[in-house]
């Protein structure tokens, strides 16, 4: 019980700070979530983290709901609700304020510098997420081939992502990975 209270405090601090750091989308802070949830707080092991990530990708809705699952594992239903609200609220307030200013600042040099300059950083962070997740899932060569094939399919065609994740799950279920 005491542990759960402490975990709630950690959940609140972790996700409300990651909320403001999740520049470029929720996926960019996945390496940091992994570092804290697996290495610092030991809420779960790397395999479980990778599984929760897969569940969050295969469920409809924003993939940021991964934090709902991490919060649930750390501190039950209360943890799940707290993690979700903590992840959405700080950034949400900021975004709301910016949405009021954005339309009025079309000619500002800062706006164009941000639009152009942050794009390469975002791509780097997204790729780092993919890299960290594949290390965490402990991929062997067969899993790598499956990942490669799915990446190719998703990059070059307009296949619905749920079909790709679902198809990959089926291939795994058949024991081929």
């Amino acid at each position: 019980m005491k542990d759960e209270g402490l975990n709630l405090i950690h959940v609140l601090i972790l996700f409300s700070s990651l909320s403001l750091l999740s520049i470029g989308g929720g996926n960019t802070v996945i390496p940091e979530m992994h570092r804290k949830a697996v290495e610092s707080y030991s809420w779960m092991n790397g395999k479980q983290f990778a599984d929760l990530f897969a569940i969050s990708q295969a469920t409809p809705g924003p993939s940021i709901l991964l934090v709902t699952l991490i919060g649930y594992k750390a501190a039950g239903i209360t943890g799940a609700v707290l993690a979700t609200v903590a992840m959405i609220l700080p950034a949400g307030i900021l975004v709301y304020l910016v949405s009021r200013l954005w339309s009025r600042s079309a000619d500002s040099p800062l706006r164009s510098a941000i639009e152009k300059g942050f794009a390469p950083l975002t791509v780097g962070l997204v790729l780092a997420s993919g890299w960290v997740m594949s290390k965490s899932a402990d991929h062997d060569w067969r899993a790598w081939i499956l990942t490669g094939a799915c990446t190719l399919l998703c990059t070059t065609t307009k296949t619905n992502p749920i079909l790709i994740v679902g198809g990959a799950a089926l291939i795994g279920w058949l024991g081929w990975v």
Partner: protein
């Protein structure tokens, strides 16, 4: 002007619309579905307005889809609109994912489930990698963007630096490079 007035939705319509967007789309598909509904079906925004908002939502902290919901909701009905849109987007999926998560921790020892999840993880990682390729193809044009991209990936992905440290180093360089030149 009259078009915008005609299109102005109620709080309930905002919540229901984003709930609909949320439930029909998965993972990386959300921005595409938002565009389909907001621009094409409901005509709440022009293509240009939606795209510039999408860029902004990717730069700002927070999940992109949540941010889009805030921008769209706030455009029509201010703060209540933003809250309604975000609630519609997240509530049912959060309940759904909790049910799945609870089932996972209950049955995660079942071997067939382990195998299926291993496959699903490979697929999910592929979605992330392909998003990096798709967006990289559009914005990694030239030497400086490539250096910024590789440095960010290397520091965060390989050296596992905390995000704050990575951005403290790379973000000022990126802004310096991208700042519009004086005429």
């Amino acid at each position: 002007m009259s078009d915008a007035a005609k299109a102005c939705p109620s709080l309930a319509e905002l919540a229901l619309t984003f709930n609909h967007i949320s439930l029909v789309s998965f993972g990386g598909g959300l921005s595409a579905w938002s565009r389909e509904v907001v621009v094409v079906e409901k005509k709440w925004m022009s293509e240009e307005e939606f795209l510039s908002i999408l860029t902004m939502c990717r730069i700002l902290p927070g999940a992109n889809q949540v941010n889009v919901a805030i921008f769209v909701g706030a455009k029509f009905l201010g703060l209540p609109g933003a809250v309604a849109a975000v609630f519609g987007l997240t509530f049912l999926p959060a309940v759904l994912i909790l049910l799945l998560g609870a089932a996972y921790f209950q049955y995660s020892h079942v071997p067939a489930l382990q195998d299926a999840l291993k496959g699903a993880a490979a697929g999910a990682i592929a979605l992330t990698l392909s998003m990096a390729f798709k967006t990289g193809r559009k914005c990694l044009l030239g030497t400086v963007p490539w250096i910024l991209f590789v440095a960010t990936f290397f520091l965060n992905g390989i050296l596992r630096w905390p995000l704050f440290g990575v951005l403290a180093l790379t973000a000022p360089l990126a802004l310096l490079w991208a700042w519009p030149k004086a005429k």
